[in-house]
């Protein structure tokens, strides 16, 4: 049996989804918002794809679309991780 790239991708998708469900269930309500904004930052992983679409200097439509994609993904990554850290810092500080 040899699997094509599509099938491998589907395997990876299904297994990763199960890992996600297993890892994340039973999150206390206190962490719902930070979990969501942290997950949101992770969805900025699209930046990896975006980088590939803007690698020449010509002002072509594909480069401009790619540049916009990089900008949006970076907002997600930078903003998402920073704001999550800001929230989690508040949860941590009065444990004494």
């Amino acid at each position: 049996m040899t699997m094509g790239p599509l099938l491998i991708g589907i395997y990876v998708l299904v297994l990763a989804s199960f890992v996600g469900f297993e890892v994340i269930t039973k999150v206390p309500p206190t962490l719902h918002t930070p979990l969501m904004s942290g997950a949101n930052a992770i969805s900025g992983i699209t930046i990896v794809g975006a980088l590939h679409t803007a690698k020449t200097a010509d002002p072509t439509i594909s480069n401009i679309l790619g540049c916009a994609a990089i900008a949006f993904a970076t907002i997600n990554v930078v903003g998402g991780f920073m704001v999550t850290d800001r929230m989690l810092k508040m949860f941590g500080k009065k444990k004494k």
Binding site: V19, I61, I70, R86
Partner: protein, 475 residues
């Protein structure tokens, strides 16, 4: 050498990055480890970006740097400046940006591979059948997430009909037609020959944007936690779809993790409202029954001022605070903490009862109270606090409404019947701080206000609390 980098080193870096994302998410689920989890996840992201740059080799960085600087500035400033009360809007907006990025990558691939090469073959034969279809899916999910999130953002800001549902006539038919149209366009994009692949791609973008708008406008403010969670999940799925386009497992894995986490939160929110996801999405909450926007008359309502409330609080041994969206609107989180401190100093036991859907996003109240330095041990979940209400002297409902409506327990004709609520009516006395008797987002009458042990305190939550604090100090 460069072959070895692309074929072996970069995939291994991606694998490490995926593992770190999983570990980071796992740690994000426990209060003690959450902050380190976030750091681990951001490290994983940095690794992924560095790996990608390594993979690309020497390229022209102008467009890349422009995008990163622009995005970094906007994201960084937003993260530092945003008020904790505006967190739902911020998360909604960021969900939308995640979707936008995925759709834009897919569109960039369309131009790069098909339009700018002047190809006359079908997309399926140029980039492969499954890639062509997933380009379509990326555009569909990404654009839908973007427009849906923007509508959610406007609703959360109270700009769109003050967050009330907007019901278009025949919206189910319109949605079904748009859905079918989207599927047809995905097929057309993938298999149309003779060039011009940008036309179905752009049409698909427009149809998907319209679909996102139409799916979110009929959803009311109280259902926003569900919508925000679901859009969160979609932004992950969009990233996964992009992973299929590019044949990149890291994108598929990370997207799947986000998709799963969003779905779990969506599920928790739905259970907390005793409604199915389909029921929320189809909308129409409060459309039938509920007395036309809650204009029903109230009888037997008593009200008092801050002074009377302070006198009762002074003698109470146990007080439960029930916060809701009104607390966020009035920015009263610091005032409530101050009042609690005064009561605790007098030997009173103060706890906070947090309904899972209180506020406008999952965990909204927890974030707000944390900002005011309320120890999270004082925040109790519904299942824990409900048996405690019977032995509670005073409950103070601050800007919450539907989540304390006893009609959910007793009135079978009520649209919220069956929704688990906080049993504040069991406590000896209940103060409800509210601007007026107007209904909550579900648009229905709250029978709690008519109970004999309930006293209304009309006014802005922050103002009322400050008056109570002043009275307590002078007692």
């Amino acid at each position: 050498m460069s072959d070895l980098i692309s074929s072996t080193l970069v995939p291994l870096i991606y694998l490490l990055s995926a593992v770190l994302f999983i570990l980071g998410l796992k740690r994000l689920g426990r209060v003690r480890t959450a902050r380190s989890g976030n750091t681990i996840a951001s490290t994983a992201m940095l690794l992924a970006v560095l790996g990608t740059l390594l993979d690309m080799g020497q390229v022209d960085y102008r467009f890349i740097i422009a995008g990163v600087i622009l995005g970094g500035l906007v994201g960084g400033i937003a993260a530092v400046k945003v008020e904790m009360t505006s967190m739902p809007e911020m998360v909604a907006l960021f969900n939308g940006f995640g979707g936008a990025a995925s759709a834009l990558v897919a569109l960039a691939v369309v131009w790069q591979e098909l339009v700018e090469t002047g190809s006359v073959d079908s997309a399926a034969s140029v980039i492969g059948g499954s890639q062509a279809v997933t380009v379509g899916l990326s555009i569909l999910i990404g654009a839908l997430t973007l427009s849906g999130s923007l509508i959610a953002f406007l609703k959360l800001q109270g700009k769109l009909k003050r967050g009330q549902p907007i019901m278009l006539p025949g919206r189910h038919v319109i949605n079904a037609l748009l859905g079918i149209g989207a599927v047809v366009l995905v097929g057309q994009f993938a298999y149309q020959t003779g060039g011009g692949a940008e036309q179905p791609a752009l049409m698909l973008t427009l149809v998907s944007l319209a679909l996102g708008v139409l799916l979110v406008i009929p959803i009311g403010g109280a259902d926003m936690p569900v919508v925000v969670s679901l859009l969160n999940s979609y932004s992950g799925m969009a990233a996964s779809a992009t992973g299929f386009v590019l044949g990149n497992n890291l994108l598929i894995i990370s997207g799947a993790l986000v998709g799963a986490s969003g779905l779990i939160l969506t599920q928790i929110m739905c259970v907390a409202m005793n409604r199915s996801l389909l029921n929320v999405l189809v909308g129409g909450f409060g459309e039938d029954g509920g007395g036309g926007g809650g204009d029903e008359e109230y009888s037997n309502v008593t009200s008092c001022g801050a002074e009377e409330a302070a006198m009762l609080l002074e003698t109470a041994e146990s007080v439960v605070v029930v916060p809701g969206y009104g607390l966020a609107v009035a920015q009263a989180q610091h005032a409530v903490r101050e009042m609690a401190d005064l009561l605790i100093a007098r030997g009173c036991k103060v706890t906070y009862a947090i309904h899972p859907v209180a506020g406008r996003m999952p965990g909204h109240m927890n974030v707000l109270l944390a900002e005011a330095d309320v120890p999270y041990e004082q925040l109790l979940e519904m299942d824990v606090i409900n048996p405690e209400f019977k032995s509670t002297d005073v409950s103070i409902v601050l800007g919450a409404n539907d989540v304390v409506n006893p009609a959910a327990l007793s009135d079978k004709s009520s649209p919220i019947y069956g929704m688990p609520i906080l049993n504040v009516h069991d406590s000896r006395s209940v103060f409800v701080v509210k601007r007026s008797l107007s209904p909550g987002y579900a648009g229905i009458k709250n029978t709690l206000f008519e109970h004999d042990n309930t006293t209304m305190i009309f006014g802005d939550a922050k103002k009322v609390l400050q008056d109570v604090i002043n009275e307590l100090k002078s007692l």
